[in-house]
Amino acid sequence: MMRILDRHKRDRFADFLFKGVSSFFALLIIVLMLFLFVVLAIESAPAIKAFGFKFIYSTDWNPVRASFGALPAIYGTIVLSAIAIVIAVPVSIGIAVFLTEMAPKKIRGPVGAAIELLASIPSIIYGMWGLFVFAPFLSAYVEPFLIENFGFLPLFRGTPLGIGMLPAGFILAIMIIPFISSVIRDVFLMVPPMLKESGYGMGATKFEVIWNIVIPFARSGIMGAVILGLGRALGETMAVTFMIGNSHDLSISLLDPATSISATLANEFTEAVDDIYLSGLVELGLILFAITFVVLALSKLMTMRFAPQKGRGKA
C-alpha cells in the first residue's frame, strides 16, 4: 500500500514537471512572437509617423526623395501568392491522385520520394534555374502565346520579358507543389478503402469516386495543405527576387516586372543608408508579418469550420 502511494506521488510529480516544461516552451513561442512584433513595431515607428496610412496606399516608392509607398509591394505579395496557389493546388491534387489511385504500386514510392526531394532544393537554386532556363522559355513561347490569345485581358498585356509577376508565380508554384502534394497524398491515403469501394460498388467510375468521395472526404486536409503552401509562398524571397523584376511600378499586367515585400527587403536592406528608409523597410516587414498572420488565421478558421463535420457521430 505504502509503495503504491509513493508511486502515485512520484508519478504526479513527474506529470507536473512534464506539464510545466511543455507549457513553458509553448509560452516561449508566443512570447517570442510578441517580442518580434514589438521590435518590428518600434523600429517602424518613425516611418509610421512620417507617412501614416499613405504608406499602405501610395504607389510612389522613391528612396532618393524619401517617399515610401508600399502598395506595389503589398499588392505584389498577395497577387504572387494567389498565382502560386491557383497553379499549385490543382497540380498538387493531380499529383496526389496519380500517386494514390493511378500509378502502378512499383513507381509510387520512388516518384513520391522524388517529389519530396524537390522540397529540399534551396530556393536560390530555383531562382537561378528560373532566371537562366525558365525565363527564356517563358519569354520565347508562353508569354507571346498569352499576349496573342489573351491579350484582350489587361492581365496579359506587355512585353514578353520572361520576368515579372507571372514568371515569379510559376516558380513559386513549382516550389510549393512538393509540400502541398505530399500532404495531400498523405491525406488521400487516409481515406478508408471501404469508402471508395462503396463508390465503386454503386457503379461509379474512378473519376467519380475521386471527385465525389475522396476529395470531399479529404477536404479539411487539403485546406491544411493549402495553408502550408500559402505560408511558404507569402514569405518566399530568393527565387522571387530573381524572377519578379523588382520594379516598384504598379501594373495590372502579370507580365510586367513587379515586386513583393520580401523581394524589396532582400534587395534594398543593404542600400538603406538613412534612418527613414530603414524604418520604411521594417514597416514593410511588419506588414508582411500582419498579412501572413491574418491569412493563416483565416485559413485556420476555415479548416475548423470544415473539420467538425468529420468527427461527429462516428459509428
Binding site: P104, K105, P192, M194, L195, E197, S198, G199, Y200, G201, M202, G203, A204, T205, E208, N212, I213, P216, F217, R219, Q309, K310, R312, G313, K314, A315
Partner: protein, 257 residues
C-alpha cells in the same frame, strides 16, 4: 417455412476458384442464389465468405493480381467474362459493408449519388426517388428533417440503414451484405433485420453473417464455408436442424469457430 420451389435461380456459381495473387482463397464453389430470397453465408473467420461475396460484383478487380476461374451466371451471362462492363454490373448489384460507409456529403446526396450516376438529374425526380428509397428502408420518418445534414452526423445504425437505402435507391437486382450488423448494437441490428425481410420482396439478397441466429432468422438458404470451400449448401431450416455434414453441425452448435 414457405415453399421455395417456385423461386428461380438468380445467380448460378459454377466451379469458382479465386486467387489473391498466387494464394488461392476459394476452391470450386458451386451454388445457386435464388431470386427474391435471402441467402446467408456462414463459416469461421477467414474461410472466404467476404472473398466470395466480392466476386459477385467483381470488386476484386480494383486490386492488381487477383484472378477468378469458373463461371458466375447472372441473367444468362457469365459476369466473369473479360470484356464485361463492370460499371454496369455494379450498378445492378448493390453492396453494404461491414461498417457504415456514408459518403462525405448530405443525407440526401448520399441517396441521390447512385441515381445521378444512372443519369437522373431532374430535381423533382431525384427528390421523389430519394423519398421512396428512405420510405422503403423505414428511415423516412426518422430523418426526413435531416436530409440536408451531413450523413456523418447520423448514428451508426442510421448510417448503416442509409447505406442500405442508398443501395436500393437504384433498384439493383441483387444486394450483397457483408456482416452489415457487426458494428451495430442489438437495437440497430433488429431494425436492419426487419428491413431485410422487407427487402426480399423485391430483391435478391446475399448476406454474410457471423451471427448464427441472424442467419436462421433472416434467410431461406444457407451456405456453410470452410477453408475456401462450400461444405454444405441447403435450405436454412435444414442446415440448422439436420445438417448433413458433420463440420456444419460442429460449427452451428458452437464446437469451433
Amino acid at each position: 417455412m414457405n415453399d421455395n420451389n417456385n423461386h428461380n435461380d438468380k445467380i448460378i456459381i459454377k466451379g469458382l476458384n479465386f486467387y489473391y495473387g498466387s494464394k488461392q482463397a476459394l476452391y470450386n464453389v458451386t451454388i445457386a442464389v435464388k431470386e427474391n430470397e435471402v441467402t446467408a453465408l456462414i463459416g469461421p473467420s477467414g474461410c472466404g465468405k467476404t472473398t466470395f461475396l466480392r466476386c459477385l460484383n467483381r470488386m476484386h478487380d480494383l486490386y492488381a493480381g487477383n484472378r477468378y476461374e469458373g463461371e458466375i451466371i447472372l441473367d444468362n451471362a457469365n459476369i466473369l467474362d473479360k470484356g464485361l462492363d463492370l460499371i454496369k454490373l455494379r450498378s445492378k448489384i448493390g453492396m453494404v459493408f461491414q461498417k457504415p460507409t456514408p459518403f462525405p456529403m448530405s443525407v440526401f446526396d448520399n441517396i441521390a449519388f447512385g441515381l445521378k450516376l444512372n443519369g437522373i438529374s431532374k430535381k423533382s425526380e431525384l427528390a421523389a426517388l430519394v423519398e421512396k428509397a428512405l420510405k422503403d428502408s423505414a428511415l423516412w420518418d426518422e430523418i426526413k428533417d435531416r436530409l440536408n445534414e451531413s450523413a456523418l452526423s447520423l448514428s451508426g445504425g442510421q448510417q448503416q440503414r442509409l447505406c442500405i437505402a442508398r443501395a436500393i435507391a437504384v433498384q439493383p437486382d441483387v444486394i450483397l451484405m457483408d456482416e452489415p450488423c457487426s458494428a451495430l448494437d442489438p437495437v440497430a441490428t433488429a431494425k436492419i433485420e426487419d428491413m431485410m425481410t422487407e427487402l426480399k420482396r423485391n430483391y435478391t439478397v446475399v448476406i454474410v453473417t457471423h451471427n448464427m441466429q441472424q442467419a436462421a432468422r433472416v434467410s431461406e438458404w444457407t451456405g456453410f464455408f470452410m477453408m475456401g470451400e462450400v461444405k454444405e449448401f441447403d435450405k436454412t431450416q435444414k442446415i440448422f436442424t439436420t445438417p448433413s455434414n458433420q463440420m456444419t453441425e460442429d460449427y452451428i452448435t458452437g464446437r469451433f469457430g
